[in-house]
Amino acid sequence: MSGGALDFPTMLSMRLLVLFIHVTAVIVALGGSLFSTFALTPILNSELEPVARIKVMRRVVRRLGWIVLVSLAVLVATGMMNVFYIGAISRLLMVKLVLVIIVIGLAIYQYANVGARIWQASSDGPSPGLAPLVSRFRRVGLTVGSLVLLIVYLSLGLTRVPGALSIG
């Protein structure tokens, strides 16, 4: 390797493939949540009647839950493979792993608990109990998003320190 450019065999290596899937899973999990929170929900609130809005929202909650939870599982699997490539367990990695446990727990709570209750409560259309659940869903989603961003920042520390990711 010279001048930061990677040669062809390195570009086709298992290590880069695993890293690519790992980064893609972050993009999918985080991007989906952010799009739903900051783009879709405000537009639904302003453009649709309550009945139609609830219909769309409950479908979004279910579909997004599947996408986010599967992405997190892929993240963990590829993350563990990355640990083998890094070849060491540092204090930074331990902090990251603790945050990963919290994020997965919160994501399960968000979609399998609050999301499921939103699905139940909205089965007959708008109901008074729905607003606090939607608000909690949003808050937990924002917390998960913030923690994922923190994990991404810690990951930069893991992979960008000299010698941590010496490809080529």
Binding site: L69, A73, S90, I108, V114, S123
Partner: protein, 177 residues
């Protein structure tokens, strides 16, 4: 109502019993591996001692991995809302966990051998005292259980992602009119 309560207690009990069993096996096999207790078994029953000597490491890694997965299942279930969904997630997680525990134990055992800050590892293990060996084996088991806990939570998330959308909502009377 009574049957539903029994069903609810059953999967909770299964997870708890399996967790206790995994913990006991992990403690016994780790203590045996660390202290070289297979020699005592060899003294009483040589073929049994030889088998235990060959198997205790596998018992230690698989039980530690199983413990991590079971703790993850127990914690994950507390985060799921509906009883019907929780029961399905519990059953599916136990089945998937039983399938993946052996390969996961192998992978996590390799991962647990990675040293802190790329230092050390288990290389000088044979030369250390029995107390150090017990400590090293204990930390090794804890690392396997910890890594398996994360993998187990990811597995529960995956199972919930599949099970939750499949759960049907019973429509109310108003919706049926």
């Amino acid at each position: 109502m009574q049957r539903r309560k029994r069903g609810r207690q059953l999967y909770h009990r299964i997870v708890r019993w399996l967790s206790v069993a995994a913990l006991l096996v992990a403690i016994i096999s780790t203590a045996s591996y660390g202290s070289g207790a297979h020699t005592a078994v060899r003294y009483l029953d040589p073929p049994m001692g030889a088998w235990w000597n060959a198997s205790e490491f596998a018992f230690m890694t698989v039980s530690a991995a199983a413990l991590g997965i079971l703790v993850a299942i127990g914690a994950g279930l507390k985060l799921v809302a509906e009883e019907a969904v929780r029961r399905r997630v519990a059953i599916a997680s136990i089945i998937v966990g039983a399938i993946i525990v052996a390969p996961l134990a192998s992978g996590m055992a390799a991962m647990a051998r990675l040293g802190w800050m790329a230092e050390g590892g288990l290389a000088p293990y044979a030369e250390t005292s029995i107390v150090d060996k017990l400590l090293i084996a204990g930390v090794y088991s804890l690392k396997i259980a910890g890594f398996s806990l994360i993998a187990g939570l990811a597995m529960v998330a995956m199972v919930a992602a599949v099970i939750v959308p499949l759960t049907r909502v019973v429509p109310s009377r108003e919706a049926l009119k």
